[in-house]
Each structure stands twice: as structure tokens, then as C-alpha cells.
Symmetry: C2
DNA sequence: GTAAGATTGGATAGTCAAGTCCAATCTGGG
DNA sequence: CCCAGATTGGACTTGACTATCCAATCTTAC
């Protein structure tokens, strides 16, 4: 049998691809601001300027759209973070990464939180497919941080015996927790305090004397 | 005019109070496991063994019930945390607090996350009344941690010049972020790493020589 | 240019949740 | 014991959302 049911990820025409991408981008924005459950397909339809049938032409159901949104947000975040993390070569660079994260949160007064963190909080318990995808994204993110720390070991900034894996998880947890608190408190105080504490720990424990 | 609309927080009869409390406890459990949007009033009705009219007799609408759930979870968490945090008198005590938090998360394999964190993530952006209540709860929680650190300064364990406020926020952010990652990854690795890093920082920077 | 297939518009069925209503029953103070 | 008010049962209205369907229009390979 030919394609039984599932719509392909990449529509065959240019127009189709553009429509599909627009739907995903709009859905990602709405789901970021109002949650997955708080985002109806009619709302996506109106905001994207498409008709109902187009959503269900490109996605089997709302879960499939949500899956695409998770992938979209993962790519967005990782491609934003990667350049910063790829150039970690000093504690100073680590601190400027921290500043980028803090500034981003401050620019929206804490609202929204982390797109991946919010999706995970809403979906992980009830939707294994979402949990698996989000766990993989978090792993990729912490791995990018870990690679940055490893580079700092290689260039002689950090002691080789540090646990780069644990420290990368600590940094990512500091980001996530700081953003959760920023969302409620409309302050980046906790985000800054958490990142500063972990970075100070890295500095004091891991930096090799010049 | 007599009572215009809003049901009182404390029903006048014993039976009424018991019913109201049962509704809140059941709703808190369902909302913890499936989110607020994922918990319908019919589901609460069935799980609590009450009729629709009882829910709307004790709560003006679903938002009012949600408000009661937020208060319930705040009290639950703070009354569980308070005894542990009130006895902080050494870094060792801080580490055993860490163990309690980690063990709790490990017991449920990370699922659920923090009840307050999950509620905040879902509600803060769209519902100012929820955000305000949750921000106050987070503040009370971090204040309890700060008081513990202050006690450690008083008894000579920590240097007086440390920023206990910032460190208490860092510890709370480590908990929240660690739980977010635990929910997706079904591991307490990040929670442990984040708490350990912040505690190690406190230890190394703040402990007075004996 | 043309036909096969992709894309689109919009109406609509089916389902379920929020909230209302009223009559029946229970509770507690006097 | 008795009744005013509290509590309870359960049907019902209203409205929104998910998903489907089919005919009309557009795209593109040939």
C-alpha cells in the first residue's frame, strides 16, 4: 500500500513547505505563551492564516503538531546556544554565556521561561513520546555545555580531574530553575544567583594556576 | 446585601468543611499529575465522590478551585520543608536536606516535578493571581532557606559576609531546575549535580576554619 | 499546455467540559 | 423536636475544540 495515513515531514511543493513551516512557527509561539493545552487548533488556524484542513493535511493530529513544535524549539535553542558554547575557552567566556542567558530572560521580564522547560513540565508525565524527545534535547544541550568545559580542560584552563558531565548538568539545571523562578517572580535574581554559584564553584575548584 | 456570590473559605458545618477539603486534596493530586488544564471538573467530581453542584457550591469557578490548590500545595511543601530548614546548623545538615530532596525525587523517578514549579510553569504567564500567589510561596521557601543559612552564620559555621539571600535563591533554583530535568530524564543526576555544586561553593567559600 | 497530484476553503459531526438550576436531604442551635 | 440554612444529587444548557469531508483551486513535471 502507498502512504497509508501519516503526512510526510516535508511537503513536496515549495508552497506546501512554507505553509507547514508557518503552522509550526505559529503553533510554537502560541504554545510557548499559553501552553499546549491552552492552544487550540482554531487559534493556530487563525494566527497562521490557514484553514482547518491545512493543519490536518500536514499533521495527523494535534499530537503530531506538538511533536513538530518540540523539534522546532529544540533546534531553535540548540542552534542559538551552540555558537556560544563552542567557543568556551575561559571562565570569562563562561560568564559571558551566563550574561546572554540572563539578558534574554531579563528582556521578557522572566515571562515564558524556557520553551523546552515549559513543554517538558506540561507534557513529560503524560506523554512518553514528548518526554523522550525533550530528554534527548536536554541531553544534547548539556552535552554542548560539557564539550565546552572539555575544551577548557584541553586548553589548560580547567583541571582534568573535574567531572565535566556533572558540572554541565548543574549549569543546565541552574538555567532551568532560574527561569522557573524568573517566571513567577519577574526577576532574574535567582537565575543569576544559581549560575554565579555554579560558575564560582567551577572557578575556585577547577581553574589551574597560571 | 447578604453574601452576594463568593462562597466562604470555611464552610459552617463539619461535614461541609470535610467535603471542601476532600475536593481540594483530590484536585491538587489530579492537577499535580495532569496539569490544571488537564484536570476537568467532572474528573475531580468523580475522584472526590461528590456531585457537580458541590464543587460549585464551595468554589465560584475552576479558577477559585485552582487558587485553593495553590494554597494547599504551598502549605504542604512549606510545612514539610520548614522543620528541615529550621535546624540547619552545619554544612552536614545542608547536605542531609539535599538528600531528602533528592530521595523524594528519586522515589517517583522524577515524575511530577515540584508541585509549585509545575503550577507556576503552567499558570504564571496567563494568570496574574496565580503568579502572585506562587511568587509569594517561592519567596517564603527561599526565605526559609535564607534563615537557615543565617543561623549558620550566627553559630559561626559560615562567614558573616556571604550573601545568604543570593545563596538561598541559588539553592532553590537548583532544586527547581534539577526537578525539571528529572521529570524529562527520569534521573536525579542533574538535581544532585546542581545541589552539590552550590553546596560545595558554600562550603569552600563560606565555612570558617575550625 | 495539461493532467496528476498537492494544496486549500469552509461547513460540519461528534465529544466533552464549564457552569446553572432546583428539588431533596441533612445539620445544628434553640 | 423543629426549622432555617447548609449541603447534596443529578439533569441540563451552552459553548468550544478536535477531527473529518469534499469540492475547488493551484503547482509542477512532462
Amino acid at each position: 500500500m502507498p502512504t497509508p495515513a501519516a503526512p510526510p515531514e516535508a511537503p513536496s511543493t515549495r508552497k506546501g513547505r512554507a505553509t507547514r513551516e508557518r503552522i509550526v512557527a505559529v503553533a510554537a509561539d502560541l504554545m510557548y505563551r499559553h501552553g499546549v493545552a491552552g492552544t487550540s487548533t482554531p487559534a493556530v488556524r487563525d494566527a497562521a492564516g490557514v484553514s482547518s484542513s491545512q493543519i490536518y493535511h500536514y499533521f495527523a493530529d494535534k499530537d503530531a503538531l506538538t511533536r513538530a513544535v518540540i523539534a522546532f524549539q529544540s533546534e531553535t535553542i540548540l542552534s542559538n546556544q551552540a555558537p556560544l558554547l563552542a567557543t568556551l575557552d575561559s571562565v570569562e567566556a563562561l560568564r559571558s554565556w551566563r550574561d546572554v542567558v540572563v539578558d534574554a530572560a531579563r528582556r521578557q521580564n522572566g515571562t515564558g521561561g524556557c520553551p523546552l522547560g515549559s513543554l517538558s513540565s506540561e507534557l513529560s508525565d503524560d506523554h512518553p513520546w514528548a518526554r523522550d524527545a525533550l530528554a534527548a534535547s536536554f541531553t544534547a544541550w548539556s552535552e554542548a555545555i560539557r564539550a565546552g568545559l572539555a575544551a577548557m580542560i584541553d586548553n589548560g584552563t580547567l583541571r582534568p580531574e573535574i567531572d565535566a558531565t556533572a558540572l554541565s548538568l548543574a549549569l543546565l539545571a541552574a538555567v532551568q530553575g532560574g527561569l522557573v523562578l524568573a517566571q513567577a517572580q519577574h526577576t532574574t535574581d535567582a537565575l543569576e544567583a544559581a549560575l554565579d554559584a555554579v560558575i564560582a564553584h567551577i572557578h575556585d575548584h577547577a581553574v589551574l594556576p597560571a
